[in-house]
Amino acid sequence: MAAYQLLIIGGGLSGIAAGIRAARFGIKTLILEQHSLPGGLNSYYLRQGHLLETGLHAMTNCAPPGAKQAPLNRLFRQLHLSRKQFNFHEQIGSEIRFAGRSLRFTNDPTVLEAEIGRAFPEAIDRFRRLKQLIAAYDPFAVVPWRSARHFLAEHLRQPDLVDMLLLPLMIYGNAEEEDMDLGQFAIMFRAVFEEGFFRPGGTMREFLAHLVQQYLDFGGELRYRAPVAEILVEAGRVIGVRLAGGEVLTGDTVLSTAGIPETMRLSGWPGERDRYIGRMSFMETIALVPRARVATLSQGRTIIFYHQGPVLQYRRPDDYLDPSWGVICFPGNFSGLEPEEPAQIRVTNAASYPRWKALSAEAYGPVKEQWTLAATMASEEIIGNYRPSIVYQDSFTPVTIERFTRKAEGAVYGSGVKIKDGTTPWPNLFLAGTDQGYLGIVGAMLSGITIVNQHILR
């Protein structure tokens, strides 16, 4: 008899959410997390006394407690979390900034509509019709991949507007280059443009701690510093896992949130692993700058999605970094947040994993410094000068991402090819998380919940 009914590989958002669902209904569950902290792709670290998050941990799908059918509130009910206990901080406002064009948006969808009316008056009626089409589209229907780009081009007939609407959604979590699946687009359009961004009360550390506690309260077990080295298979079924230290743990079912390539490697899953290695990876630079200076630079913006140059190329760059497009975030600019001193400025740009991987140990440091500077300077073109005011700066590259998350080639958005039903060649091994297909913090939780509901609780 197996020691556990369910073994979950990965204590990130999808793993913890999955664990809560299983433990809530009495399934004996163990989550195995490789690091000493939960969070996975949405984690945090301490450097020189500063608590830094490993990404902009903005959540989507902001909705008030009373909106029962809003995805966020459904999620909370599924996890048996009290929505009323959570204090959210909504974004102050974001901007999509292309050369010569700007669109602001907030969690009030009428703002974006008004902005489009101002910047693209010839397309506003088509935008309104597009919104209706998106609202009527069922993004969860099992249908073949369909180009969001073509759909937008066809309905808006305004190429700049198409790119400006696509960029924030792609940056938020699109694993594919240049385009995205229409179903995914519809989900993200609602998540970002209609419901909007927010941060949980407190830091991601507190939010994660709350989720972990919920899981433990339901009787779930969790082990940190427990990297899985192998998924054990016998007679066509998965029987458990072997940890890096050699310990074997048996389970009736295994749920992996490590991504398809890593799960393939761990289980000996036959197939072309390369097909599932995403090409999108990033370099992120975090600068700590006096709060007063950040206030001037940010001008009340929370996130700026920018593109400078002729053609938007949402793809892996040829060079180490593509500074021509990216995102500048001011994590402090969420309403009601306790101001931090110093405040943060985060700049993220697409980066080429192969380039970074090929660097020798000696070359890595200097090249990282060079591109940190390039990214910083690119952001200064958008928001103004701040280098002289930087108190502390840190950055991480695709190689860093790969090392800490085990996402092959630092592909934070995972595989371009998702496995929506979370199944694998084995009847009792499932996938959740980025490579199942729902993205972002809310997406990851929904993924864990959905896969457990579909395959383990039935």
């Binding site: 209904f25 009495g26 059918q69 459904r74 048996h80 509901n453």
Partner: protein, 83 residues
């Protein structure tokens, strides 16, 4: 369990799933899902909670029998006789 006890358990489970559930004007003969604005995931959780508490397996094709409060009690009464 008596019919009243069963009714209380169902309402308690629903209240546990949905902290905003308001039973004040609940019509026992009308569909629960519409009156309480529950979705299919919430409904499944009611079934899951019953399974967890009473080791009760409810086949999917019998879910329609749980549509109203009265029909829930009717359905569960024989199954929870010895509880």
């Amino acid at each position: 369990m008596s019919r009243d006890e069963i009714k209380d358990v169902i309402l308690e489970i629903i209240a546990d799933i949905d902290e905003e559930a308001d039973f004040a004007s609940l019509d026992a003969e009308a569909p629960l899902r519409d009156q309480l604005d529950l979705d299919s995931m919430d409904f499944l959780d009611i079934v899951m909670e019953l399974r967890k508490r009473y080791k009760l397996q409810i086949p999917e094709d019998e879910y329609p029998q749980l549509a109203t409060l009265t029909s829930c009690v009717n359905y569960l009464e024989p199954k929870l006789q010895n509880v």
